[in-house]
């Protein structure tokens, strides 16, 4: 596979050898090697959870690998801090750029290494002039003196790129840089990548969009389940092959999906729209059904679900539950109506770190466990015991702070918490994101059981195997709209990827 003569003659700008990294309960990366070459774009592809972001964090000094070496220009280096990685010339442009909204564009570029005059004071004139020059090199026609908060995400990316140029980075990591960009902006970004290439930078380009990978990348590396499964030249591979490499195993066999007789419609959503986040959402959810919502990160799925349970208000649209029109203005009303949402951001929206497991589980159903407003601890423990054992929770005691549990077990507590309200409809947003294989299996098995018991399930997921393994039907969202609907029978990974990325069917 590595008979690529061009690159074998060149020295890599950065080379990773045998990198492994474990977190409690999960092996995020296992014996991974990767080399990036000057003047070349390497596309890193893989599903969510394949270990891409862990790799980026190791490259930028946020995580330290358990095993393996990193070499820059043939010298072994260590990145104990983010600053050390930046000094070695490695920089990353993240999806959510880490910059300062209240500071000017020029300052964001030069913060920490601003030009000084002979009195040691910041030389604003030179700062702005240098910033203007760097922005021009990044192909951005921006006034360096305006505040960053007045820019859109695309332009913030350009500022981040200018910052990368300002520290003379030799290795530039672009983590889904086009996820939030418009069509025109994406083309500007492509031009920029070409320019960085021409300047001899080594670029690691992470993306889920195959059209852009084939357009700008020279090489590819595929990650799956924390290992590198293949690498080579883009010229030697097809889109279909890449999708197959990425998805890997024969989908379906490991998923405990039960065949359930699908019943009558339970939830009907029609004409749902929001001024800035989504529009024209229409669908039906039936009894015993698992409805998958697939899409790229930022497609508006979570925003729609949160609007459905009353966290935000839609501008128009109707929801019927069992045929009756529902008006939901807050999550407490949604819970009472029988619609619950298990949020994606477990730490921020799901678990209440600081409270014990049993109190987390019973929080939304206190009205049921208590008597006239007074707590009944025995009832709480009974409910917590029932649901946590069904989800196969691993914990020392129910009185333990949820914060002490692993991610997977925290997720079980969070799911148990919303199930304890005995809902009719349960919405699971990325239910297995960032959790270990064992916990994933437990969550999937439990989801199947719930559907078999007649619960209606909506599962938002960005993982293709999970979507294909668990769903009866799939709705694909793209840019706030429904971009495709698929029955289980005619579901293929390629179709999903195409619909989500907006790739036209080959004629």
């Amino acid at each position: 596979m590595l008979q690529d003569t061009l690159t074998s003659r060149m020295k890599p700008a950065i080379a990773l050898e045998g990198i492994s990294k474990s977190f409690p309960g999960v092996k995020a990366l296992s014996d991974v090697s990767l080399s990036l070459y000057p003047g070349s774009v390497t596309a890193l592809v893989g599903e969510n959870g394949a270990g891409k972001s862990t790799l980026v964090k190791i490259l930028t000094g946020i995580y330290q690998p358990d095993e393996g070496t990193i070499c820059v220009a043939d010298k072994e280096v260590h990145f104990p801090t983010a600053l050390a990685a930046a000094r070695a010339g490695v920089t990353a442009i993240h999806q959510e750029t880490v910059l300062f909204d209240e500071l000017s564009v020029a300052e964001n570029i030069f913060l920490g290494h601003a030009p000084r005059n002979r009195f040691g004071l910041i030389d604003w004139k030179k700062l702005n002039a240098d910033a203007r020059a760097l922005l021009a090199r990044a192909g951005a026609d921006l006034d360096p003196t305006i505040r960053l908060r007045d820019l859109g995400i695309a332009r913030k990316h350009l500022v981040a790129i200018a910052r990368a140029l300002s520290i003379d980075a030799q290795v530039v990591i672009m983590d889904e840089p086009t996820a939030a960009l418009s069509h025109k902006e994406i083309h500007e970004l492509y031009a920029l990548v070409e320019r960085l290439k021409a300047e001899g930078k080594a670029i690691l380009f992470i993306s889920h969009k195959f059209d852009e990978i084939f357009r700008i990348a020279d090489r590819y590396t595929v990650f799956r389940d924390g290992t590198m499964v293949d690498e080579g030249l883009i010229a030697d591979v097809s889109q279909d092959e890449l999708v197959r490499l990425m998805v890997g195993r024969a989908v379906g066999s490991v998923y405990p999906k039960k065949d359930v007789a699908i019943g009558e419609p339970v939830l009907t959503v029609s004409g749902y729209r929001h001024p800035t986040e989504f529009e024209d959402i229409n669908f039906e959810l039936r009894r015993g059904e698992i409805l998958g919502f697939y899409g790229l990160v930022g497609a508006g799925r979570s925003e729609f679900m949160q609007s459905l349970i009353g966290v935000t208000r839609p501008s128009a649209g109707a929801v019927r539950l069992d045929g009756e029109i529902l008006v939901i203005r807050s999550p407490s009303e949604a819970i009472r109506a029988g619609i619950v949402y298990v949020p994606e951001e477990r730490g921020r929206q799901g678990a209440i770190i600081g409270l014990p497991i049993f109190q987390n589980v019973t929080l939304p159903s206190l009205s049921r466990t208590s008597r006239s407003g007074f707590l009944k601890l025995a009832n709480e423990f009974a409910i917590a015991r029932e649901y946590t054992s069904r989800l196969d929770l691993r914990a020392a005691s129910l009185d333990q702070d949820v914060g002490t549990l692993s991610g997977g077990n925290q997720q079980k507590v969070v799911i148990a918490k919303w199930l304890a309200t005995r809902p009719k409809v349960i919405i699971l947003d990325e239910p297995t994101k960032g959790i270990d294989i064992g916990s994933k299996a437990a969550v999937h098995a439990f989801m199947s059981e719930l559907a078999a018991e007649g619960l209606s399930v909506i599962m938002v997921s960005s993982e293709i195997p999970e979507i294909m393994g668990m769903s009866d039907r799939v709705i694909v969202m793209r840019e706030g709209r429904i971009a495709g609907r698929f029955e289980r029978a005619d579901l293929t990974a390629e179709k999903l990827v195409r619909a989500a990325a907006g790739i036209q069917e080959a004629a």
């Binding site: 880490v98 209240e102 500071l103 910041i122 418009s182 986040e277 989504f278 930022g298 925003e303 840019e479």
Partner: protein, 325 residues
């Protein structure tokens, strides 16, 4: 118009202008240049203190101990002068600034090294510093006749027609402006408060930056201690009692966000001036000076509501159509 509304400082200038017009309508002499200069002079100490508080608030902290620091440094300066009347005044000022800085360093060190919430630290040191004044002075007053003439005269001496106090506050505004806009430390204040997480990525030590913010506020409180005691020619345990709230009020009115990272030197100065104009105008337009407290309370609430509206962040836009608008 929309631009003026967006710019906090211009909005404040407009508010002060409206205030002045309203006062002039009842009492034209208020806007005579000599009177305005007097109002500025009267507000000078508040301006100096607001500059220090601004630095602290920018880093997402708060300094409730500034007024107590002022009182302790002032008492020390007065006692020094009473005990050694021959001591040159610059030396006394230096001593007050150094004591103030030391007290600020204590705050900063507790916040930096022990991670204690700033509000708790300065709430604690506020009572401790006040108590120390009592221990230092044995509860006694230092009165005008115990102070040397040079000690009392300095803030009042005129230089090119303006009192030294006014000049000093202008110098402090210039110095702090220089620190905030032209030094790495000044920019770090903004970075630490605006996005502490990203500041770490940029190689900025968040705790250390906060420590220096407290040093600055302490030094300015120490300087104000001497100015206060010499201007009013008296020092006792309770001077400037509760003044910490006026300082914070000036900052809030000046558009300095209590959540950190947002605010300018001009804002702090204008916020202090706004309070100064109100305070000086009340007796003139025949409103009891007792109303001042209630008015500044109202102004704080209105200011924080206005600022909150301005700071409310735009959500992520997913729909293309909406992005184009």
């Amino acid at each position: 118009m929309a631009n003026i509304l967006k710019n906090r400082e211009l909005l404040l200038v407009a508010a002060i202008a409206v205030l002045l017009v309203l006062i002039t309508w009842r009492f034209p002499a208020f806007v005579a240049p000599s009177n305005l200069a007097r109002v500025y002079n009267d507000t000078s100490i508040l301006i100096i203190l607001a500059l220090g508080q601004m630095a602290v608030i920018l880093t997402r902290c708060i300094d409730l101990s500034m007024a107590a620091n002022l009182a302790l440094s002032g008492m020390m300066a007065a006692m020094l002068n009473a005990a050694y009347p021959g001591l040159p005044i610059p030396l006394i000022i230096l001593a007050a600034v150094m004591l103030g800085t030391l007290l600020g360093m204590i705050n900063g060190a507790l916040v930096w090294k022990l991670d204690i919430p700033p509000i708790v630290v300065t709430l604690g040191t506020l009572t401790i510093y006040r108590g120390l004044i009592f221990l230092l002075s044995d509860g006694k007053w230092i009165n005008a006749h115990q102070m040397s003439d040079a000690f009392k005269a300095l803030p009042r001496d005129e230089l090119a027609g303006f009192p030294v106090l006014s000049w000093l506050s202008l110098v402090m505004i210039g110095l702090v402006f220089l620190v905030m806009s032209r030094t790495a430390l000044g920019r770090a204040f903004y970075a630490v408060g605006g996005n502490p997480h990203a500041a770490v990525y940029t190689g900025i030590d968040v705790g250390r930056t906060r420590f220096f913010a407290y040093c600055l506020s302490g030094a300015l409180a120490g300087l104000s201690g001497y100015l206060w005691v010499s201007r009013y020619a008296v020092a006792y345990v309770d001077i400037a009692l509760g003044f910490e709230l006026d300082i914070i009020a000036a900052c809030v009115i000046g558009g300095i966000s209590i959540a950190g990272g947002i605010g300018t030197v001009a804002g702090a100065v204008l916020g202090a001036l706004f309070l100064g104009v109100i305070k000086n105008a009340l007796p003139v337009i025949n409103i009891s000076p007792f109303a001042q407290m209630a008015i500044s309370g109202m102004v704080i609430i209105i200011a924080v509501a206005v600022n909150a509206r301005a700071e409310r962040r735009k959500g992520r836009v997913i729909l293309r159509k909406a992005e184009a608008v």
